[in-house]
């Protein structure tokens, strides 16, 4: 794992035109993205956007129909020990064996993972006050989530994938769980990819953003860069998109004004600004919602129209 840090130019995760077809329907198609080493990346999209399909291919549970996944520069073949060893996984609803004790779960982790770190696992649940001898079914939802996360961490994989990790938790448990993830992420050798359909959950925690909808990547890149590159313009209602700086992503018209989220650099804004126009910074959530509300591809089988192609995202990730 340490050799990965040495070469920061190797992304923790790269998918290359990744696609997965279920019968005739593409669950995910043409998905090209990168997550740099050390990032905490948010994978955001509505339910059914293909998030779980993408994550399962990254983990090595699911064989891609086309394209490939590489983790720290090494191509992953689904369902091989090499691929599975590189990724720690906390599945949605954090499945555990209900009649196992926490100690049993760790025993399983030790038996099934050559690089298992028993000390880390035991220290973590000790800190959290979860008794080792308690059965999983007697743990609260938050504690079960913590045991799942502990197992993924103790696997000592350089990339951790968390699928909707907090969606089944109450607000307090959500906050505690995400705080623990962030504490682990402070260890710069780990890269996190966290999926959610609730943007606000991830806003404070993530420095990399991937927006997925209708089986395609709509937006991907460093969160700061993406926020910098977008503005919320308030303009007179009649103003056509063509007169606006940059690219209009989403437009909401009210009686007198239109609020348009545009992708435009500071120079473009300066050059095409008008008196009476107001340009505000965008929030994480506004940005994600704008891209999610964009005109979706006509069908899942067609390549996305040019406007929805991950053009900007490609620029962002290859920077």
């Amino acid at each position: 794992m340490t050799q990965h840090d040495a070469d920061a130019s190797v992304p923790a995760l790269r998918t290359d035109r990744l696609g997965r077809r279920y019968g005739k329907v593409w669950g995910l198609r043409d998905c090209t993205l990168e997550v740099p080493a050390g990032a905490v990346a948010a994978l955001v999209g509505p339910n059914g956007a293909g998030k779980t399909t993408l994550l399962e291919m990254i983990i090595g549970l699911l064989e891609p129909t086309e394209g490939q996944v590489s983790v720290f520069g090494e191509t992953s073949r689904a369902d091989t020990a090499e691929a599975l060893a590189r990724v720690g996984y906390v599945a949605q609803d954090h499945p555990l064996y209900r009649d196992f004790t926490v100690a049993d779960m760790f025993h399983l982790g030790r038996a099934m993972n050559p690089s298992w770190d028993q000390e880390l696992a035991e220290a973590r649940v000790d800190t959290l006050g979860i008794p080792l001898q308690r059965k999983v079914k007697r743990l609260s939802g938050g504690q079960q989530a913590q045991v799942s996360l502990t197992m993924a961490l103790a696997k000592r994989a350089p990339l951790l994938v968390l699928d909707e990790p907090v969606s089944s938790l109450d607000p307090v448990a959500r906050l505690e769980f995400m705080r623990d993830v962030m504490a682990s992420a402070a260890d710069a050798t780990l890269t996190f990819l966290i999926s959610s359909h609730v943007v606000s959950e991830l806003e404070r925690f993530c420095d990399w953003l991937i927006v997925l909808s209708h089986g395609h990547v709509q937006l991907a890149g460093s969160a700061d860069d993406l926020l910098d590159a977008h503005r919320l313009l308030t303009v007179p209602r009649a103003t056509p998109d063509a007169e606006l700086p940059g690219t209009a992503i989403h437009r909401a018209d009210s009686d007198r004004h239109s609020t348009v989220l545009v992708r435009a650099g500071a120079d473009q804004l300066a050059a095409q600004g008008h008196a009476g126009w107001q340009a505000d910074p965008v929030s994480f959530e506004q940005l994600v919602m704008a891209y999610l509300q964009r005109q979706a591809p006509a069908t899942d089988n067609d390549p996305p129209p040019a406007a929805a192609r991950p053009g900007p995202s490609t620029k962002a990730v290859t920077r």
């Binding site: 997965r20 279920y22 779980t52 983990i59 090595g60 549970l61 699911l62 064989e63 369902d79 091989t80 020990a81 599975l84 060893a85 990724v87 996984y89 599945a91 949605q92 609803d93 499945p95 555990l96 064996y97 209900r98 009649d99 196992f100 049993d104 025993h107 399983l108 982790g109 038996a111 099934m112 993972n113 050559p114 690089s115 799942s148 197992m151 696997k155």
Partner: protein
């Protein structure tokens, strides 16, 4: 993986041991009274002398006392028990992981799922073979006095002695593992595996078994019609353990008692082959299958 398999199946292992213990207790109690009666009636000596024809009253009394308990109730219960064991152990093996979503946990550790399955199948199959062999040993010991009168070719001894009992368990297990993978729910998978298992089991027993090998024929002369004589000694051949297949006029076709082990190998082979086919299909599908959701 060995520990994981043990931890996940130890409840079933304990259940199987309890079943075996119950069977052994029943066998000891029943067999003791049967053995006492057998020696008391001096049947062993009579059998050695004359295949039982010299002491018809003793044989009849013994059969009257023990055959219903040993044969009818025992056979009807024991007919389904190997199938129940097989499906109860087999169906949850994969189905429970799919039902509760734990497949995402089990198959994302550093063990490819084909290996995960191979280790589990090897250990559980081994356990079932031990269980089947132990049940066979207990039942064979328990029935020993009765078998001296009836031979081993009758349904109620043939089905539980030798190799076939273990093969029946393995077949039901194989069907249930495959059904669990396809149906993804334990209880429906148990039913879906048990029904064809029972059908095949009965068809093999009542349609095919008599004809595994071409029967021998003998010419006979029966003054009062040919049938079973004393106990289960076919009058036609006069030897304990011969299985009469058909009587046509004065020609009797029969399977001689010394074909018992040949027949056991053939029938066990059929059921083990079915089990192997089902488990092979499971391994192939699990490796190949892409999607587990929905």
């Amino acid at each position: 993986m060995i520990w994981v398999s043990w931890r996940q199946h130890r409840g079933q292992a304990i259940g199987c041991l309890a079943l075996l213990a119950a069977l052994a207790v029943y066998a000891v109690i029943e067999s003791t009274s049967m053995r006492t009666a057998f020696s008391h009636d001096g049947l062993a000596a009579c059998l050695a002398r004359s295949q039982g024809t010299a002491c018809p009253a003793g044989v009849t009394a013994f059969m009257n006392e023990f055959s219903s308990a040993v044969n009818i109730a025992f056979w009807s219960v024991a007919l389904i028990v190997p199938g129940l064991i097989g499906v109860l152990v087999g169906a949850p093996l994969i189905a429970r992981e799919l039902e509760f979503g734990t497949w995402r946990l089990a198959w994302s550790q550093t063990v490819p799922r084909s290996r995960w399955l191979a280790v589990k199948l090897a250990l559980v199959t081994g356990g079932l073979i031990v269980l089947g062999a132990a049940m066979t040993a207990v039942i064979t010991w328990y029935r020993a006095p009765m078998d001296q009168l009836t031979g081993h070719f009758q349904h109620n001894s043939y089905d539980f002695e030798g190799l076939v009992l273990t093969a029946y368990i393995l077949c039901a297990f194989g069907f249930a593992v495959l059904a669990g993978l396809l149906i993804r729910r334990s209880v429906p998978a148990m039913i879906a595996a048990f029904v064809p298992w029972l059908a095949i089991r009965l068809i093999v027993e009542f349609v095919f078994r008599d004809h595994f090998l071409a029967p021998l024929t003998a010419k006979i002369n029966c003054t009062h019609g040919c049938g079973m004589g004393i106990g289960f000694v076919p009058q036609a051949t006069g030897r304990i353990g011969d299985l009469v297949v058909n009587i046509n006029g004065n020609i009797v076709s029969y399977q001689p008692a010394d074909r018992f082990w040949t027949f056991q190998f053939i029938e066990a082979g059929i059921f083990v082959a079915l089990a192997a086919a089902a488990l092979g299909a499971t391994i192939w599908l699990l490796h190949r299958r892409a999607t587990w959701t929905t």
